[in-house]
Symmetry: C2
Subunit: 225 residues, 2 copies
Amino acid sequence: MNRNSSAAEPPQGVGAVRAGRTPSGANPTLSEAEIVAAALRVVRVDGVDKLSMRRLSRELGVSPMAPYYYVADKSELLDLVATAALAGIRIPEPESGPWQVRLRALIDQIDEKLRKHPGLGDVLIEQMLKKQLTLIDAAMEILFDAGFSPRNVLTAYATIHTYLFGRSRVVNDNGPGPLPQQLPKSFARAMAHVDDLRGKYFYEFGIATVIDGLEAQLVRQQSAK
Amino acid sequence: MNRNSSAAEPPQGVGAVRAGRTPSGANPTLSEAEIVAAALRVVRVDGVDKLSMRRLSRELGVSPMAPYYYVADKSELLDLVATAALAGIRIPEPESGPWQVRLRALIDQIDEKLRKHPGLGDVLIEQMLKKQLTLIDAAMEILFDAGFSPRNVLTAYATIHTYLFGRSRVVNDNGPGPLPQQLPKSFARAMAHVDDLRGKYFYEFGIATVIDGLEAQLVRQQSAK
DNA sequence: ACCTGAACACCGTTCAAGT
DNA sequence: ACCTGAACACCGTTCAAGT
């Protein structure tokens, strides 16, 4: 129904160029980089849940199976997308401040990427201990510096991870919506501030809750020893 | 390939029973209750992501469109499933203790239901402010009692909600897995305790982090006024 | 080496039809 | 009133084939 995307037509008859790049801008062959770029485009515009192998192939102007030459399956594609989306995050230097500050600096950057890539949290929350090891390691190093025991470093990281990547799913697009019947009392009182959930206030509150909570666990750990 | 499920064959020729229930156990007609029960069976055994309208119809031994006579679409089915799965939660009495204790009592019950219904957190995390109003209201009332401002009641609830329903997705089934290359330093140190993530320790730590963190926000709120 | 095309086993859902 | 059957527009993926 829609027009085809503005990408070039399947570039097979442009000339007798055997391999490599064409003189013009048209792509003679795909590449992993192009595939990831196209996937990221879809994710940024329509969100991860709209990214399908078939949609990706349309975006690239190739047949549905073409991307499979470069990626084994969809889950590998999502791994590549996640890695690309999280690229450019700078790990705070150890001297840049106390652990709480360094942790926030790291979390803030991740959250920024998540905002730009709707639904990405969903991808990242599951794979957790399999991918993005460098990033996770950086967070864990901060927690070690804070004084957490190895066991609590893992658990504390999992707590952060759960909150950070789950956050994006809460109260996303769905507008106010026709709320049914008359609302329960406390619910109605609180709901006067729904708009706060979309903005920075909820973010600040939530992250502060987690970090302050972690501080409390650190104190408990030390007074238990 | 598989055998058909052990449910009765499509019960059309059992007798000339016009309507209502048959003398035997076979169902002459469907009902919302039966549909929800079948859906819950699928969820408990295989998880929410295996629950499809078609799988549900197979489970019931009817044609794929039959359930649509009782539920408008899949999202309505999921709402019914979520409500049924959360049934039986007892809201702690106001006199049963301080807010932290009452909140935990509520959260513990919800988490128990979530454990029995894999993937249900995913359903609940999105609908948040549209369904389960009574449960949400109960949580919010506790937060009001604690002394949170209306705005912070909503934000605090959202923080709990995010963590509680996101928790189930982290480190679920995927076994140890063939971890690649050699691991980064802090990561490797912490990973010696992976097994803790599946057990009660992670739950205790995480919930304590959130509640202690909320306490800290309450103090901040009061000292800011 | 790189891509296409047909096919399979799935989805959710609409719509007309059967009893 | 309650259910079926065919059909449509989607998925991910396998497998054989084309250049």
